[in-house]
């Protein structure tokens, strides 16, 4: 250990190098992401949705539950941009507030199912054997029920409320992540870099979460962006069926549902929330696809 030449870099230089590194890679990431026009479109839709949800009270001209029975089923006009519903409530305001529900369901339900699915899938794929057998069995059973039916069953058991809808959506959608993550782990755990990590003295927890999981990030992200709109749709469906978010809280699904009786007289009540669901679902899909392309280091030019 005598004649190793130790290069001494000043502390400042090192810090600068690290900072530059982080800045560079982030800028590079953003640049490559938004070179894709679809990503830009998707991102814009998502950002608008988030802004609308956060600033709903400022954007909406009326309260979502403000009734004015004198002006029921009015077509779009200056006072009511998207007309009114059967109780004379402003449809535009209700849709604006409804975005909050969709986002909440999206983030929380997807977050919960992502957490459950990833952890179970990782354990099953990494350890195999009995653990894999049990977890795969539970997943298969859960998958054998039709999604909506299972969600309805959960809500029926728990009682209709926003929280219970989130739980129901999470409980019907974790299986996809579980299967995906398990499959990823099955192939990744045989890779040499995992063996190398073992040889370097790392424990299972570190190998699972710090080494294998980041390698399966790309498909998980794609899946999440596909699950996000699905969660929104399941919520809309439950609300449409009347067992989701309870009135007067507006959800796009329940607005759409309430408009179905007046489809001829007041089609705007149903068309706009349906259109919103479509746009938002498309936005997440576009963004997710582009994100996958960018996050895969092998696709870097």
């Amino acid at each position: 250990m005598t004649n190793i030449r130790v290069i001494k870099m000043g502390e400042k230089e090192i810090t600068k190098a690290i900072e530059e590194n982080q800045k560079d890679s982030f800028q590079d990431f953003v640049r490559r992401l938004f070179k894709n026009k679809a990503a830009l479109a998707g991102f814009t839709i998502i950002m608008i949705l988030i802004i609308v949800a956060i600033f709903a009270p400022l954007i909406a001209p009326y309260e979502y539950d403000a009734q004015n029975l004198k002006f029921f089923l009015r077509p779009p006009s200056k006072e009511h941009l998207l007309g009114t519903d059967e109780f004379g409530r402003d449809v535009f305001s209700r849709i604006v507030y409804g975005s909050r529900i969709s986002l909440q369901i999206g983030f929380i339900a997807v977050g919960i199912s992502l957490l459950i699915g990833t952890i179970l899938g990782a354990l099953a794929g990494y350890y195999g054997g009995v653990i894999d057998y049990v977890i795969t069995g539970i997943t298969d059973i859960a998958l054998s029920f039709p999604t909506i039916l299972l969600a309805i069953a959960f809500v029926a058991a728990l009682g209709p409320s926003l929280v219970n809808v989130m739980i129901a959506v999470a409980l019907v959608s974790w299986c996809g992540y579980c299967r995906l993550v398990r499959a990823e782990f099955l192939s990744l755990r045989e890779q040499e870099f995992v063996e190398a990590a073992v040889v370097l003295g790392m424990d299972d927890k570190r190998i699972i979460f710090n080494h294998i999981l980041p390698n399966s990030a790309a498909p998980i992200i794609v899946m999440t962006t596909l699950e996000f709109p699905k969660a929104i749709i399941v919520e809309s469906t439950l609300s449409f069926l009347g067992i989701g978010v309870q009135p007067p809280t507006p959800s796009w699904g329940s607005i759409l549902s309430s408009g179905k009786f007046f489809l001829y007289e007041a089609p705007w009540i149903s068309i706009v929330p349906g259109f919103m669901i479509m746009i938002v679902v498309m936005g997440f899909n576009l963004f997710g696809d582009a994100l996958r392309d960018v996050l895969d280091p092998r696709l870097k030019e």
Binding site: R5, V6, M9, V199, L200, G201, M202
Partner: protein, 321 residues
């Protein structure tokens, strides 16, 4: 030089399948001193890699089981260590590099992060110190522009560079032993020479003991001090490198050396040892090499030769009785 770091006594690693037991490593003993390179040479299935994995305690149990023997690392028996204690030793005091540099690095992290992780894990460094040390390690393994490379991903490096990075990772914590399991097999010849040169140089600088596993006698000649020739789970010859090449004793070693193509002289048909390596559990009595030996006698059939001391070497052959 004579400070013994690793001493393996009568190591027996068997694999147990449903209806048979396969003695992959059957009573192997050797020792490595500080700064020494022990070359382990043998054909596929001779138990070289199993020996290495037994030392690291990385064989899946079951089917593998170390049924007997001792692995003394600085006078502590590794076979008696708990999994936690072993984790502390792996990558920190005993390191290993493999033959697959192309896939042994995690594709989603920069190489700087991968080298630093070991340092953070084993040496308790903070992020900045670890990056600084990583750059130093990259410089040590002669990667040009280490300050830039430290931020690059594995796919941006060539095979030879990746093997250098692997070596940097393995040596980052200044291990006492480096186990190199065919580190140059996947590389082309010029890069092979560079990597071997690098391992030798680093060994001199850092005083690391190296256990070089290979089937390439050229590699052995290049780097080793002592050589152990393995066949079918047994050591057949154990001697210093010069004696082995100038005066090979065991018929198997002689056969192996004859099968190396020569650059000079008349070109002749290359010598081959006839037959194939038997399964380790096929031969239950007599010399392991009896099925392929050209100098076989009656005693070879029935009784296995012990190690016979001849000068500086140990040979397992009745010829020298």
């Amino acid at each position: 030089m004579d400070q013994e770091i690793l001493k393996v006594n009568n190591l027996k690693t068997y694999f147990f399948t449903e209806d048979e037991e396969i003695p992959a490593v059957d009573g192997v003993s050797f020792s490595i001193s500080k700064g020494e390179t022990l070359g382990i040479v043998g054909e596929s299935g001779s138990g070289k890699s199993v020996t290495a994995l037994s030392i690291m305690r990385l064989l899946p149990v079951p089917p593998a089981k170390i049924v007997d023997g001792q692995i003394l690392f600085r006078d502590e028996d590794l076979l008696k260590k708990s999994e936690d204690e072993m984790r502390n030793i792996r990558g920190n005091r005993i390191s290993m590099i493999f033959q697959e540099p192309m896939t042994s690095l995690n594709p989603v992290f920069t190489i700087g992060r991968q080298i630093s992780e070991t340092l953070i894990l084993h040496q308790g460094m903070n992020n900045k110190e670890a990056i600084e040390k990583s750059i130093e390690m990259l410089k040590l393994v002669k990667i040009p522009l280490p300050e830039k490379r430290v931020r690059e991903y594995p796919h941006q490096l060539s095979g030879g560079m990746r093997q250098r990075v692997m070596i940097a990772m393995a040596l980052a914590c200044r291990p006492e032993i480096l186990i190199a399991d065919e580190p140059t097999t996947a590389l082309d010849v010029t890069i092979q020479a560079q990597i071997l040169e690098l391992i030798k140089e680093l060994q001199e600088q850092l005083g690391t003991a190296v256990m070089m596993i290979t089937h390439d006698l050229g590699v052995i000649a290049e780097v080793s001090d002592n050589v152990m020739v393995m066949y079918c789970g047994r050591a057949l010859e154990y001697s210093d490198v010069e004696t082995l090449f100038n005066n090979p004793k065991h018929p198997y070693t002689i056969g192996l050396l004859k099968s190396v193509p020569k650059l000079k002289g008349r070109r002749e048909k290359l010598h081959a040892i006839k037959g194939i390596v038997p399964m380790p559990n096929e031969i239950t009595s007599g010399c392991r090499f009896k099925t392929r030996c050209e100098q076989k006698t009656l005693i070879c059939e029935n009784k296995e030769p012990p190690f016979i001391k001849l000068g500086k070497s140990l040979v397992r052959c009745w010829k020298y009785q």
